[in-house]
């Protein structure tokens, strides 16, 4: 298919439709309104289900109901809305039914603002709702990547009977880029052995997240954990740039990773042997690969649009073996490539210690920026 100019949110919505989305339930919130709006036009004209719910609470529970029928279903929202969805997400995880969530992060906490942010990494990657569960989280850095991950997200959700989240921020949602969308595929409702669709010619089915007997609940938790471990084993995705001869490595996901790539390219032009590691699955997190890279590189520089949330995962992977530096912008501020380039230049020259406190050091430098 030809490359066309698309807005991120609309491209994501259309990609979902083309890979067989049957139902969408959502509620307006900037910067993801265009997903809801696109769905409101396209789904009815294709004879598929669309409801603008009374709130995110309603939307996620409609998704829950639809997921129980075995339909391909998704919703989308942004930070305050995602917080409101946490109840439903926990029930969906506990009931072991598949769904896709497009999470377009904005500045927070509270009402925050509508600027691009990555401050909800912990919220979604570490579960978010109550109970022991892990959504699968994919973090594309471009519209094309988001579009390409759409079918992957549905497949992963259905394979692992889990929530699969596409985690982006308002900049990816609202910018325009040339993209190649997938071909329109026919909708096929899979005949799942668990779906509720009428007990005709078979024993009735019950979908629930209640297990009053703690040993039964423990078994359920173990089942979730087993699937999660399998996803950790099989589904890790990342992208590496200039890694082969890199002396130190910048790590960033989504937009921060993309901005960092420009900085890394500029640094390479100056002869600095730096590489970029961009996790695509931020949950499950590529701990193993980062541990390997920590044996090759002399230091890591983590770049995020938050106060070091993924940094904690990187520290876990590195386990104190090499120094880690951090650079973050907060509250909806997107770093410029120049800022990251000067961080790269600093790290290239600095005498770093593995036992330093990257957050404290960064905060000192931040005070200069904020002034």
């Amino acid at each position: 298919m030809a490359r066309e100019l698309w807005e991120g949110n609309q491209a994501i919505a259309e990609a979902a439709i083309r890979v067989g989305l049957e139902a969408y339930f959502g509620y307006p919130i900037t910067p993801q309104n265009e997903i809801l709006e696109w769905m409101s036009k396209r789904l009815p004209e294709l004879g598929r289900a669309f409801v603008q719910a009374e709130a995110e609470l309603g939307a996620i529970n409609m998704v829950y109901g639809a997921a129980c029928t075995g339909a391909r279903v998704m919703t989308s929202s942004s930070s305050p809305g995602i917080s409101l969805m946490m109840e439903g997400l926990s029930y969906i995880a506990g009931t072991e039914v598949p769904m896709v969530l497009v999470n377009v992060m904005r500045g927070g906490p509270g009402l925050g603002n509508i600027a691009p942010s990555q401050a909800d990494y912990n919220q979604i990657c570490k579960g978010g709702g109550h109970g022991d569960y892990h959504p699968i989280v994919l973090a594309p850095a471009s519209i094309q990547e988001a579009v390409d991950l759409m079918p992957v997200a549905f497949d992963l959700a259905e394979k692992y009977l889990n929530i699969c989240c596409i985690l982006i921020d308002g900049s990816i949602g609202q910018m325009m880029e040339p993209v190649e969308l997938p071909e329109m595929r026919p909708v096929v409702r899979k005949d799942y052995p668990w779906a509720v669709n009428g007990a005709k010619g078979r024993p009735r089915r019950i979908l629930t997240s209640i297990y009053l007997d703690p040993p039964e609940e423990e078994k359920t938790n173990l089942r979730l954990l087993k699937r999660w471990r399998e996803a950790q084993e099989k589904e890790i995705r990342y992208k590496e740039y200039f890694i082969e001869d890199a002396e130190f490595v910048v790590i960033g996901f989504g937009t921060a990773g993309r901005v960092a790539l420009s900085a890394v390219r500029a640094a390479r032009a100056q002869g600095i042997k730096v590489g970029l590691f961009r996790p695509i699955t931020v949950a499950p997190f590529p701990y193993k690969r980062l541990a390997e890279l920590a044996r090759q590189a002399s230091a890591f520089l983590v770049v995020e649009m938050n106060a070091g949330q993924m940094l904690e995962d990187v520290r876990l992977a590195v386990n104190g073996s090499i120094p880690i530096e951090f650079y973050g912008r907060l509250g909806g501020v997107v770093p410029f490539p120049d800022e990251i380039l000067s961080e790269i230049q600093r790290v290239a020259k600095a005498k770093l210690r593995a036992d330093s406190d990257p957050i404290a050091d960064w905060m000192k430098r931040m005070e200069m920026i904020a002034r």
Partner: protein, 259 residues
């Protein structure tokens, strides 16, 4: 004995749309009566194989153990939203929710109002027992003024705890509502009327005539601290005057269908 067992002599039988599981409800609780009426209607309308029930959070949380239909278990108050998701994906199936008054009229107020406003083609069976049964008898939005509960120990003081909500009357104001009525389970005559209303509600859904709800005045002997028989009397004397029985909304299309 043997002659009693021939089908001709059978006057009472478990509806086939029930499973064999004994219910967990307290003795004399009218939740069981409401279940039976639904099961009878599903069987009579031959809907068992095409129905998906949505259980609430409340005493009826295990409703799915008793109906021989597919069932899901919703989060507290969210049953109408979950039912919406199911119905939109299976428009030719029958989807019903079964909800208590805490579930429907308190935490789930948003979901129920908007499901009715959208004219969501689902059936809601609403059990109004004037308190939160499952959590031990706290005040519900439907608790009567002056009524003692574990969280209104001196009786519901409307000055500080507000007034009860009449859900049937409220939802009847919405254009999306096709059929909204209130019935009671306190004696056999009323139980028969309740069954008829449940049947009509499912017929409304079957004919895609919009949102249908049957509010059922129900007892909670355990938390009312009354015997089952006293509870029925209490319902009649105290709840009926406050929650008048009646048809609050019968949309023109429903009336025309002469169900």
């Amino acid at each position: 004995m043997a002659t009693l067992m021939v089908p001709e002599n059978l006057v009472y039988e478990r509806p086939h749309s029930f499973t064999d599981a004994p219910t967990h409800y307290c003795p004399g609780c009218t939740h069981g009566v409401a279940h039976r009426l639904i099961a009878e209607v599903l069987e009579e309308m031959n809907l068992t194989e095409r129905t998906i029930g949505v259980a609430p959070v409340g005493c009826a949380v295990f409703a799915y153990n008793y109906f021989d239909t597919d069932f899901v278990e919703a989060a507290h108050g969210r049953a109408p939203a979950m039912a919406t998701g199911i119905k939109r994906c299976l428009p030719d199936h029958i989807v019903f929710t079964y909800q208590g008054d805490g579930d429907l009229a308190s935490i789930g107020m948003g979901e129920i109002v908007h499901a009715a406003a959208r004219g969501e083609n689902i059936t809601v069976i609403f059990i109004n027992n004037a308190n939160y049964g499952m959590t031990g008898g706290q005040m519900a939005p439907t608790t009567l003024p002056g009524m003692k509960t574990t969280s209104s120990p001196d009786g519901r003081d409307v000055e500080t705890q507000g007034y009860p909500i009449r859900m049937a009357e409220m939802l009847a104001t919405l254009d999306g509502a096709g059929y909204v009525v209130r019935r009671s389970l306190h004696d056999p005559a009323n139980i028969r009327k309740a069954k008829k209303a449940i049947r009509t509600a499912f017929e409304v859904q079957e004919r895609k005539l919009g949102f249908s709800m049957v509010e059922l005045l129900s007892t909670c002997p355990s938390n009312w601290n009354l015997t089952p028989v006293e509870s029925l009397k209490w319902l009649e004397e105290h709840m009926l005057p406050f929650y008048p029985l009646g048809d609050y909304k019968v949309a023109p299309a429903v009336a025309a269908a002469k169900i």
